[in-house]
């Protein structure tokens, strides 16, 4: 089948469906936010209703054409990179906020609504949608659900899964079903909703989501601490948690990241520091004020070299600049930037950072690490050049070593980016055979023809 065939056939079977097949349109849909991955689709299709999504899925099944569903293509594991010979089902025109329910604190949206718009809609009436993936200014909620995206607030507020109450899904046979309800308590049968969250478009196409909202925290305070050793930063984090304080975010930068950030953004970080912690507490003003005093004391007790507490919002923004510019500062250094997201139990984080440093040295690659200390999710960032074949081999070896080190520490191969294509080789090792086979069984049951984003998360054994 060619692009022209797809255009003709789809155009004939579905009224008013938007299809792009020109080479100048296919090239820009050949990738998502993942470094070095690309593939050319046969066509890009833009449904404008759930009914059209269902019609496209039915057509694809009959024509035996694989489908990759996609929002705004910001994923970091290759989940929405097209399949050769397949079509892209782009849901970003399904972008309506359907209903904001203040009595039940819920928001019903179409899959293509941008995460930031969801946050803003809630914020405008004093409510709060906590998940804040790094790409939230442009990522869509459908993509967030498909990848079960995290963000900086994971420690206290959890991830996308914790805010999905129900969803509308188009299944592989083109039927439309609702999973979950608007009830806070609901134990009717299997939680199929949870099965679809994080399924990366391999089980169905999410078209609509009912989200849970929270009241907006009344106060927020920010604090930045520097340490002469990563272990001391880790000890401070453990002490804060042990004291019964759950900050909204606890972010860290390692030595290499600190130096890059200072070179790039000149935010006044001591370049001899081994670790920086950016901590944010939110909640009732009195509670926050008390927590900040305790956090500051605990940081000093654990040998923080400096501690700065922001006096106001403007200063908080300045302090947060160090963390916010981490990725930008690193991404400028080399032509190719690969963002990793292995995650370990919090207590293993300092050791894991040491492992990464040793691996970088052993494989002679440039790696700087920053991430979310509170939830053990680290982002070793590999700076390289995809044209340098020899270096790319070393990079691959280093990534394998990082993943193995994380698994050895009881961690996971991905904390928030998803498996997609990037982490596929490691999935069985993490899950074990029985669990891996169970996943394959689920996939075969729900998508017997294997047309929904095939080859993502895992390759089905023959």
């Amino acid at each position: 089948m060619t692009s022209v065939d797809v255009r003709l056939a789809l155009g004939q079977s579905i009224d008013d469906i938007d299809i792009l097949t020109a080479l100048e349109d296919l090239i820009p849909y050949g990738f998502d936010g993942t470094a070095t991955l690309k593939e050319r689709p046969l066509a890009v299709v833009f449904p404008r209703s759930t009914a059209q999504v269902a019609a496209v899925v039915r057509w694809a099944r009959q024509a035996r054409v694989p489908i990759t569903s996609r929002g705004n293509g910001t994923g970091l594991s290759g989940g929405s990179v097209p399949i050769a010979g397949g079509i892209v089902l782009c849901l970003n025109h399904l972008d309506r906020i359907i209903e904001l329910d203040r009595a039940n604190l819920t928001l019903r949206v179409q899959a293509g609504v941008v995460t930031q718009d969801i946050f803003n809609a809630a914020d405008a009436i004093g409510l709060f949608y906590p998940p804040d993936p790094g790409s939230m200014k442009i990522s869509t909620i459908g993509g967030n659900v498909a990848e079960n995206s995290g963000g900086l607030r994971g420690l206290k507020y959890g991830v996308t899964r914790d805010y999905v109450m129900s969803m509308e899904v188009v299944l592989a046979d083109g039927s439309i079903c609702r999973l979950g309800t608007g009830c806070v308590k609901d134990v009717a049968g299997y939680s199929l909703r949870d099965l679809f969250i994080g399924s990366e478009g391999t089980l169905g196409v999410v078209t609509e989501v009912l989200l849970k909202l929270l009241p907006r925290p009344a106060a927020r305070r920010t604090l930045l601490a520097t340490f002469a050793a990563m272990d001391e930063a880790a000890a401070a984090v453990s002490a804060i948690i042990a004291a019964g304080i759950v900050p909204c975010t606890m972010e860290f930068l390692d030595r290499r990241t600190i130096r890059c950030v200072e070179d790039f953004a000149h935010v006044g970080l001591p370049t001899d520091a081994e670790a920086v912690l950016l901590i944010e507490a939110d909640g009732h003003p009195a509670a926050v004020a008390d927590e900040v005093v305790q956090i500051e004391k605990l940081c000093r007790d654990h040998h923080a070299t400096t501690v700065r507490v922001a006096a106001d919002a403007a200063e908080a923004t300045r302090l947060a600049t160090a963390r916010r510019s981490a990725f930008s500062a690193l991404a400028r250094l080399r032509p190719t930037t690969i963002l990793e997201d292995v995650t370990v139990p919090r207590s293993e984080l300092a050791g894991m950072i040491r492992d990464v440093e040793a691996i970088a040295l052993r494989h002679d690659v440039q790696i700087a690490t920053f991430g979310h200390f509170g939830d053990g999710n680290l982002h070793p960032t590999i700076l390289t050049d995809e044209r340098d074949t020899a270096e790319m081999h070393r990079v691959e070896a280093a990534i394998t070593a990082i993943v193995e080190a994380a698994l050895a520490r009881g961690g996971t191969i991905t904390g928030e980016h998803g498996v997609g294509l990037a982490k596929k080789p490691f999935l069985r090792r993490q899950l074990g055979d029985a669990s891996f086979d169970l996943m394959c069984l689920v996939k075969r049951s729900l998508d017997p023809e294997g047309l929904l984003n095939p080859g993502k998360i895992f390759d089905l054994p023959a």
């Binding site: 070095t36 705004n72 790409s135």
Partner: protein
């Protein structure tokens, strides 16, 4: 782990501009998508082809020989406003201006957009009028005679514009009002600071449109520099800076104009070279890149770029004196010229200057750093998108309730003034921040 995708070379030989450039500039885009929500053409269409990362993917495909320089490619490169909002949003620091200019040069070389009309316009405007400053002033003078003699108002009263072809009919009311006196008639070649001992020696660039339609802004620029201890040199006949040429794929003419500019104003003789138009300044500050391969000029061009300053940037840098006049209450909102904020990273300084003026209340508008749709000659080539952006801009500006819209680029100035006029708003005025500052200095002696 991700594996690198080798780039198959299907076309013969690399293309002259994209194919020949340092590949790492193309590669620097990691297609993360952070540029998408800031790109007006993406927001208008929600299609990747019309986004910065989509365009870069197409450029890279051309460089890799996977895509020929097609008409669709050409149209895409000209659908881009060149507003550079993407460069501010880009975490990886992609040099989009360089890519954009190379891509347009590629399009011109491949002649995929050629038509007799387009070629004639380009020959007249780019290689004719805007290469010859005296001819440009002559054309400006003719236009002034037309406007001052009453010819234009008679023409409009008699509705003779119905006789014009449709695109000219639309443009006629947008033509700027030409000033009675051009810059050289307002500014002496050398003017001395108000304080007797000059602390600094600067050159002022008068621009093309600025010279004809906003010469009082140039006068104000000289005034505020004099008020801040500068000896000001303003050569009476200045060539176009070449930004129009570089942005429209004519890099050869752009280089020629840059050389003439450097011949006229030797950067070694000045502490700073001052631009007061966002669009010009952004281009002028890149002469070092433009002439990097020119053995005779590369060194001078590097000095030039190092000394080139936007007027607001320079005033803040030299710790300008706050005017001490009696406050005259005025509510001002600030629209950022794209090439001032995204192209030169000058965003805080114009606001600092406005706030320093006694009586000014600065009210921020929404999307202050969004393009107003002027974008060089974009309002002529893409009227629909331009009008959409103009409306969006006016909505934000009028929502502030400000009496004055301050902006520092002639294209934006005209676009906003024309928009206000066509909405029937005869109250709100558009001013350059430096004109407001000059007025405040002048009011000190009142």
């Amino acid at each position: 782990m991700s594996t690198p995708v080798p780039s198959p070379k299907v076309a013969p030989g690399p293309t002259r501009h994209l194919g020949a450039m340092d590949y790492s500039v193309l590669q620097q885009c990691m297609h993360c998508g952070m540029c998408l929500p800031t790109c007006p053409t993406y927001v208008e269409t929600k299609l990747e082809r019309h986004s910065p990362r989509g365009r870069i993917a197409l450029m890279r495909a051309v460089a890799d020989g996977e895509l020929a320089v097609t008409k669709a490619f050409g149209e895409e490169m000209y659908y881009c406003l060149g507003c550079l909002a993407c460069t501010t949003a880009c975490p990886a620091g992609v040099d989009y201006p360089k890519l954009f200019e190379a891509a347009r040069a590629e399009v011109e070389e491949a002649k995929v957009l050629d038509s007799p009309k387009r070629n004639a316009i380009r020959a007249t405007v780019l290689r004719g009028i805007f290469m010859r400053p005296r001819l440009l002033r002559f054309v400006g003078r003719l236009l002034w005679i037309w406007q001052a003699s009453g010819g234009q108002s008679l023409f409009r009263r008699l509705q003779l514009n119905r006789l014009l072809p449709s695109n000219l009919r639309r443009l006629e009311p947008q033509a700027p009002t030409i000033r009675t006196r051009f810059s050289h008639q307002l500014i002496r070649a050398i003017e001395f600071p108000i304080e007797p001992k000059p602390a600094r020696r600067v050159a002022v660039l008068t621009g093309c449109v600025q010279d004809l339609a906003f010469s009082e802004i140039n006068r104000a620029t000289v005034d505020v520099l004099r008020a801040n201890g500068c000896e000001v040199h303003t050569p009476p006949v200045q060539p176009c800076c070449g930004s129009l040429h570089a942005h429209n794929g004519d890099l050869a003419s752009a280089r020629e104009l840059a050389r003439r500019q450097i011949d006229l104003i030797d950067p070694d003789q000045f502490d700073a070279i001052i631009s007061n138009a966002g669009g010009c300044g952004s281009h002028l500050s890149h002469y070092d890149h433009l002439l990097a391969d020119d053995d005779a000029y590369a060194a001078k061009a590097t000095t030039w770029s190092r000394k080139l300053r936007d007027i607001h940037e320079y005033l803040v840098e030299i710790n300008f004196r706050a005017p001490q006049a009696q406050p005259s209450p005025q509510v001002v909102t600030y629209h950022e010229s794209c090439h001032l904020c995204h192209g030169q990273n000058v965003s805080v300084q114009p606001r600092d200057i406005l706030r320093a003026i006694p009586g000014v209340e600065l009210r921020e508008c929404g999307e202050s750093s969004w393009c107003c749709g002027s974008a060089g000659i974009y309002n002529i080539t893409h009227p629909k998108t331009s009008a959409w952006l103009q409306d969006r801009k006016l909505d934000h500006l009028t929502a502030t309730g400000a009496d004055i819209v301050a902006t520092a680029n002639p294209g934006c100035h005209l676009q906003i003034a024309n928009g206000l006029h066509s909405q029937g708003d005869e109250h709100t005025t558009v001013e350059h921040p430096i004109v407001l500052l000059a007025r405040a200095y002048a009011a000190e002696s009142d």
